[in-house]
Amino acid sequence: MTKTITLAHGNGGEENNELITKIFYKHFKNDILEKSEDSALIEDGKLVMSTDSFTVSPLFFNGGDIGKLAICGTCNDLAMMGAKPKYLTCSVIIEEGFPTRELEKIIRSMKKELEVNGAVVVSGDTKVVPKGAVDKLFINTTGIGEVKQSGISASALKEGISILVSRDIGRHGATIFSAREGISLDSNLESDCASLYPQIQALIDAKINIVALRDATRGGVSAVLNEWAKASNVCIEVEEEAIPVQEEVRGICEMLGFEALDLANEGTYLLAVTKEDEARALEVLQRTHKSSAVIAMVSREYEGRVILKSSWGTKRFLDLPTGELLPRIC
């Protein structure tokens, strides 16, 4: 570890992993935590629990705001374990001087998103701190969900499994980036910020056997694929051309030198299913987003690694994103 924590330690990529394993896992070590899933299975696998803090800047962006994000973020972590989000807590740290109207707008947006999930906030806390102690407003939410489909796990991938993405990728990262001060881009781009439980419910109702499921937040699709390849010790072969990326996101990547695969999403997930379920799963996904697609398959060629295959027959490894991508994206 470096002597001081840098912004790169919060990137959802390699440095972030180092911070978590070398400091937090080291001291908090227990069997549940070490599974390192989106949320923790508790009470013999009947319930899941997850927590997340939200520091996004700007607070309001195309397609959402910090409130919507705070509900989606935690509920999605629960949904990714095949669970229905039920009970949430909500802690808010507010900077002195923050406009009450904006606070109410944010809380209203949280309420709306809770309704989408069918969840309720059952406990909360507020702190107000002097100017400069936080930037405007930070929110933490913790949630408990009831498992509807069990057995979903990052370490369950086997040769021949298909991987699908639920929609076009990279929107949230690209939206926040273009909204930031200092980067003056005019764009109509909207964040993908959305609650995913309804879509997961649809998959469960369609009796799709979900092998693995994860929303591609910080670190983007690259991070999820790499985590899966490592956790299951398999090779994931991605067809680069099959990955759906919206034109404006591609444009922003071109200009700023990013890879859409590394950009954060807040309402986009990867789904691993058996080959037999692939077509049906795609049909369910496409009910919500036409852009969803089968993007990869699991093999044994390079165990623990992700390969990106081009349409002209070359291959390369796709690694975890490193360095400071963009702080305070969620």
């Binding site: 924590i5 390079y302 081009s310 002209w312 070359t314 400071e324």
Partner: protein, 381 residues
């Protein structure tokens, strides 16, 4: 008329069928080569394209790449990175620079580390952002740490012009702009003690197209004429590069040695004369610029002209800036890599002690450096 969409600028130039078609032509023609050829892609952007798109996987064994020194972040010697760090740590300074500079470690740490210690470091995509930062922070000095080749120099020159015109009192410049042809000469012609052994390794150059958009293709005319090295000015998309490589191979098959332009859609012989004039108005050559990994290269760097010294951070802050030259780690072989003497994998610390997250040598520090590109993309060959 419909608007030109951004995708029109790259879609066709990444077309799989076209790339395959060029691969076929190159492979056919390469059979006629009398000896293997080593092509230096001078620019880090080219290195990045080669590795990202896996181009070596499509080429025959008798065509090799030597990855050149054209990454402005990689070639920055440590003492100048220390300048950036020291400037950033000044109470009254906001240090502004371009992207990758932020993670390059100097002897005290990187700008990222400086920021973690409380320094105000900002990265921008356009130097013009400095004007806004300066007006929002009138009690601070905004130091623009300028890096880059001919491509970014005009943007810095425009900022200098605006600072002077608008009489902005709180913007200073730390200039680290360097030029491409001078380092190419150094690589093929120098009789420096390091260099004897690599004199004949570079058979041809792929010249970076964006440099010639500004400086014209004329800057490369001497290479075929005086040094016997063909140059093809080439774009950055994979189709561009495959075509550029194909043009070089054809020159060797036809026993020609010429300057050619692949990137005809933008590059002319003269380049952008307005930009050249602007650069000339504010900058002059320094007799020696020290390149990380290569040492002193004559006439390869720029500085603010003396009449603009009041804007020169190196002069304004001369009392706090370190002057000693700092050598790279003993095990680092970046110098050999930049000269085409070695490939990144031949380095004993490649991928072990030296990684993109903790770079030791210059070629690992930026995504455009050869080692970094090999680390990220190059392990399936």
């Amino acid at each position: 008329m419909s608007d030109l969409e951004l995708k029109n600028l790259y879609d066709d130039f990444r077309d799989g069928k076209t790339i395959k078609a060029y691969a076929k032509i190159i492979n056919e023609n390469a059979k006629k080569l009398k000896k293997p050829i080593n092509i230096m892609e001078v620019c880090g952007g080219h290195t990045h394209t080669i590795m990202k798109y896996g181009l070596p996987q499509l080429l025959p064994n008798n065509i090799n790449f030597i990855h050149g020194p054209g990454c402005p972040v990689c070639i920055m010697p440590k003492e100048r990175i220390d300048h950036a760090y020291v400037l950033a740590m000044q109470e009254d300074v906001i240090l502004v620079t371009l992207g990758d500079m932020i993670k390059v470690p100097g002897s005290n740490g990187s700008l990222q580390d400086a920021r973690a210690k409380g320094a105000d470091v900002r990265f921008v995509y356009s130097p013009m952002e400095c004007l806004k930062i300066a007006s929002e922070n009138p009690t601070k000095k905004v130091v623009f740490f300028a890096i880059g080749f001919e491509t970014t120099t005009p943007m810095t020159a425009v900022l200098v012009e605006q600072v002077i015109k608008q009489k902005v009192p709180n913007i200073l410049f730390h200039i680290n702009h360097v030029t491409v042809p001078e380092v190419m000469v150094e690589l093929i012609d120098s009789r420096d003690e390091h260099v004897d052994s690599y004199n004949n390794r570079i058979d041809a150059f792929l010249g970076p197209s964006h440099v010639s958009v500004i400086a014209g293709s004329k800057i490369y005319e001497k290479f075929p004429k005086e040094y016997g090295r063909p140059v093809v000015v080439t774009g950055f998309e994979p189709v561009d590069m495959m075509q550029g490589i194909s043009m070089i191979v054809e020159q060797f098959v036809d026993e020609r040695c010429e300057l050619e332009i692949q990137y005809k859609r933008v590059v002319s012989r003269e380049g952008n004369l307005k930009a050249q004039a602007l650069i000339d108005r504010y900058f002059e050559k320094v007799s020696l610029f020290r390149w990380r990994g290569l040492g002193n290269v004559p006439n390869s760097g720029l500085k603010l002209r003396d009449e603009f010294s009041e804007y020169n951070a190196e002069i304004v802050y001369k009392d706090v800036l370190p002057i000693a030259e700092i050598e790279d780690h003993k095990l680092c072989i970046c110098g050999d890599i930049l000269r085409g003497m070695a490939k990144p994998q031949e380095c004993t610390i490649f991928g072990t002690a030296c990684k993109p997250t903790s770079p030791i040598g210059s070629c690992m520090v930026s995504s455009e450096g050869a080692c970094s590109a090999y680390y990220k993309y190059g392990n399936i060959l």
